[in-house]
């Protein structure tokens, strides 16, 4: 039986990817941020997941205004890094897990989550930056990845409550898959940030630290926080944090916090990172 063993939550700022790709991780600006991922790199080398369900949002890369799925799962064999306007990131293609992904799609739709199914999908920084943060710069990614894309660009995004419930449905789906697989679920994006308008640059350390506390021990109540609170308090792009609730929903009610990290700034954004194990 496939089993979800752990969850990783992390910001996915594009400038972090650029720092890795351009060899700047040792610069004074970046060193303290990358130090926060040292533990996690060792941890994942020991965990050796077979598959990661990687929850992220597409930033008008694969999905434009023509097609806006609220939740989409990618069932393809392989996904190329997207050209977001400055050429694709020099990272390996991402290998999918078509049989598990198709199984999950069928299972969660029958569990009343009407996911969109996508096969050809170029994956942007939202998906590739977390992989780089945890795995560094290998010639091939060491495991399979199933992209799960969430709309947080066009209002309204799904509620925190719906995201948390989707996590639970993903877990039921994984646990009904016959092959023995070590599966992790990652939630990415956030933390507080606003990239647009006269209020750009907003950071709310109190909001972020409260979120980091509560997603570990009080996730069900945290999932009730409405969209407007994220926008008002954590910036218009802070709403990405609802994606962490999908990862959290897929884990046990009680989890062990293995690692927590918070850093300001990476470009315009507060960086948050958690490693959680099913206890």
């Amino acid at each position: 039986m496939a089993k979800i063993t752990a969850g990783v939550c992390t910001s996915h700022v594009p400038a972090i990817g650029a720092a890795i790709d351009n060899g700047k991780t040792g610069d004074d600006y970046w060193r303290p941020m990358f130090a926060g991922y040292e533990y996690s790199k060792q941890w994942i080398a020991e965990q050796k997941p077979d598959v990661i369900l990687l929850v992220y949002n597409d930033h008008a890369s694969a999905f434009d205004s023509n097609l806006v799925p609220t939740f989409a799962i990618a069932t393809g064999e392989e996904f190329k890094p997207a050209d977001e306007g400055w050429g694709p990131r020099p990272v390996p293609n991402v290998k999918g897990h078509p049989t598990l992904a198709s199984h999950i799609a069928q299972s969660v739709i029958q569990d009343e989550f009407d996911l969109t199914i996508v096969n050809n999908l170029d994956v942007d920084h939202g998906l590739t930056v977390p992989l780089s943060l945890l795995f560094g710069q290998p010639s091939e990614w060491p495991c399979r990845v199933i992209p799960i894309a969430v709309n947080v660009v066009l209002y309204p995004p799904p509620s925190g409550k719906r995201c948390y419930a989707l996590g639970k449905a993903l877990r039921r789906a994984v646990e009904s898959f016959d092959d023995n697989l070590n599966v992790q679920v990652w939630g990415t994006g956030g933390m507080s940030h606003q990239l647009q308008g006269p209020r750009a640059g907003l950071i709310n350390q109190e909001f972020d630290n409260d979120f980091l506390d509560r997603i570990v021990d009080d996730a069900e109540a945290l999932a009730q926080v409405p969209h407007i609170n994220y926008v008002r308090e954590a910036g218009s792009e802070g709403i990405e944090l609802v994606m962490w609730l999908i990862a959290r929903g897929a884990l046990n009610d009680k989890v062990t916090l293995k690692h927590r990290f918070y850093h300001v700034p990476a470009s315009n954004t507060a960086v948050g990172h958690l490693v959680l194990e099913n206890s």
Binding site: A15, A60, E84, I203
Partner: protein, 128 residues
């Protein structure tokens, strides 16, 4: 009955909702075209001629030519789409964000190093 927009009292912020997406559809789709290197070259070679291939309003085209990101957003542009313009220009997200705040790039970068813009006084329009 009109849809509730509880986010309208958040200062300095445009929420990309259905009304904005409808208004900005062609502007945003023009931005998407800049994800191909050949299109970026054509845009750079003659911005006006490239824009004229899209059924955008004159105001939208002018805002693009002026690189006025606040104006583009008021006309339905969304920041993740508009990012394709400043990425084509070789400008970082931070430098582009600074242009929307009225701060210089150096002032904005320093604000971020100092912990970012405080939420205090920046959560409700009436705080301003």
């Amino acid at each position: 009955m009109a849809l509730d927009k509880p986010y309208e009292d958040v200062p300095g912020t445009t929420i990309f909702d259905a009304d904005m997406a409808r208004k900005g559809f062609h502007l945003n789709q023009f931005c998407m075209s800049l994800m191909k290197a050949g299109n970026r070259d054509a845009f750079r070679a003659d911005e006006r001629a490239y824009l004229d291939q899209w059924p955008m309003t004159e105001a939208q085209k002018q805002a693009v030519l002026d690189r006025d990101y606040n104006r583009m957003m008021a006309l339905g542009g969304n920041i993740y789409f508009l990012a394709k313009i400043f990425s084509s220009d070789g400008i970082s997200f931070q430098a582009a964000a600074a242009t929307m705040t009225g701060m210089s790039q150096a002032e904005y970068a320093q604000m971020m190093l100092d912990g970012g813009r405080s939420p205090q006084g920046n959560m409700y329009k009436e705080d301003k």
